[in-house]
């Protein structure tokens, strides 16, 4: 019962306390306006280069922008303990590490879903794309899966944040890599072979592909494999992140580097 409380209540409190981007002064420009402009930027580049359809960029960038809340928020809500000088207290408690760390991911996923869905709807309305009404529910599911998958990567980034000093730099690089590798704006078949190969192991790649197919009228069943692959990739990152967090914890105790900044 205690673990359940730590998972849900502790996770929500830690998220609210450590992720200061929830202030409307940051939330609105960063999570609501910026993704729409990212969509517009690539829509217009696509039009100028006569590359893909507007729908291609709306779907890709709306889903890819979930990485901003997911990676940054996950990193802030765990590595932020170090900057607040509370990491020692947290790790000294007998609380189970699994609910302690993973509980913080639920609000992060919810944030990612909201940001992604908002960008999709507003960006799509501005640009004027058409999505079949029957695909809305399925697209919602893919958005949730992508946000969860990105949060898995965020957990890995958070673990690195226990040792890396400049987490903002690290997270921005992660965002950039997802922008280039995941087929967000360039179809995977047009990327060099090695990039396309690596993208198969990155979050968002399969989710974006699934969402594009759903938006063009494919059924949910026909993209089940892609959604499953996205979940598998996200879960792999989540497990790797959790293992690395535990490793960092042990290393921090052994080397007395717990709150080194």
């Amino acid at each position: 019962m205690s673990s359940v409380r730590i998972f849900f209540i502790g996770g929500a409190i830690a998220y609210r306390g450590l992720f200061n981007w929830l202030s409307p002064w940051i939330f609105v420009p960063t999570f609501l306006v910026a993704p729409v402009f990212q969509i517009l930027l690539f829509v217009y580049i696509g039009r100028s280069a006569h590359a893909q359809s507007d729908e291609f960029y709306v779907v890709g960038n709306a889903l890819q922008y979930a990485s901003i809340p997911c990676v940054f928020a996950m990193s802030n809500t765990i590595a932020g303990e170090r900057f607040q000088k509370t990491l020692g207290y947290i790790l000294a408690t007998p609380a189970g590490r699994l609910p302690l760390f993973l509980g913080r991911s639920l609000p992060v996923i919810a944030n990612g879903v909201f940001v992604s869905a908002f960008a999709f709807v507003v960006g799509g309305l501005i640009v004027g794309i058409h999505v079949p009404g029957s695909a809305v529910g399925s697209l919602g599911l893919v958005i949730v899966v992508c946000a969860a998958s990105c949060t898995g990567l965020g957990l890995l980034s958070a673990a690195l944040g226990l040792r890396v000093r400049e987490t903002a730099t690290l997270n921005n690089i992660v965002f950039g890599l997802l922008l280039v590798f995941c087929g967000t704006n360039v179809p995977l078949r047009e990327l060099p072979g090695w990039m396309s190969f690596l993208s198969q192991g990155m979050p968002l790649t399969h989710g974006i592909e699934a969402a594009r197919k759903l938006a063009t009228g494919h059924s949910l069943g026909s993209v089940g494999g892609l959604i499953g692959a996205e979940l598998l990739v996200g879960a792999s990152y989540g497990v790797a992140g959790y293992v690395l967090l535990r490793f960092m914890e042990v290393q921090s105790r052994r080397l007395a580097t717990l709150e080194t900044q």
């Binding site: 002064w25 306006v33 910026a34 402009f37 930027l41 100028s48 006569h50 400049e166 704006n185």
Partner: protein, 255 residues
Amino acid sequence: MRNLRVLLLGWALHFKMLSRSSFNSVLAILYPGFFATVAFFLYREGSPHALLYASLGASVMGIWGATSTSAGAALQRERWHGTLELLVASPAPFSLVMLPVTLAMSTIGLYSMAATLLWGRLAFGISLHVAHPLLFGLAVVATVMSIGMAGFLLAVTFVRYRTAWALGNLLEYPVWLVCGFLVPISLFPGWVRPISWLLAPTWGMRAIREGATGSGSYVDVAVCAAIGAGYAIIGALVVGRLLQAARERATLALT
């Protein structure tokens, strides 16, 4: 002469400090590179001219990218360091203290510009032959200076906005978009064009492209420099009133 010394020393000092920050230097180079890479892939199917167009545009994106978020946060950083009150109280005009900070930020963008052009050359085979080196060089200097001055205007305008970095960050995409870095301005709706004319990077970008292709004149460089100077003058006028208001309400140091 004394003012010029404040400007030059301030610029050199902040340039060195920014160069030591991974966020302001390493990321300033890498981050626009991700967008440039995507743009190169998208324009790759077009003519070599289209790739050169994208390469030059992406390189200037880095100058704005290095300035917008950092300039928005410039005053907040002084607050965190506890030096804002000292700077405001110093005998040197506050404008002359802050202007070198944002000029140093835009100068850091030159790293990004060079890295993007080099990346385009090495990874995508985009060769840059500058047809008019003097015009090209002047255009780059005018663009860097005017973007630094735009950053100064942002920094002083946001003096009482505690999370100004978010607003600076927000302005990154719109300026990339409407200044014609990667998309011809003619593609946008008519009402966007007057906005782009008011932005100095629009003219700087045009001048850089014209310097590279040899098809331009010095008019765009002059317009870019004049608009940049306008930003600095407006910023200097605004900063006095904003600081006075912050002093009256005792809100200068609040974080």
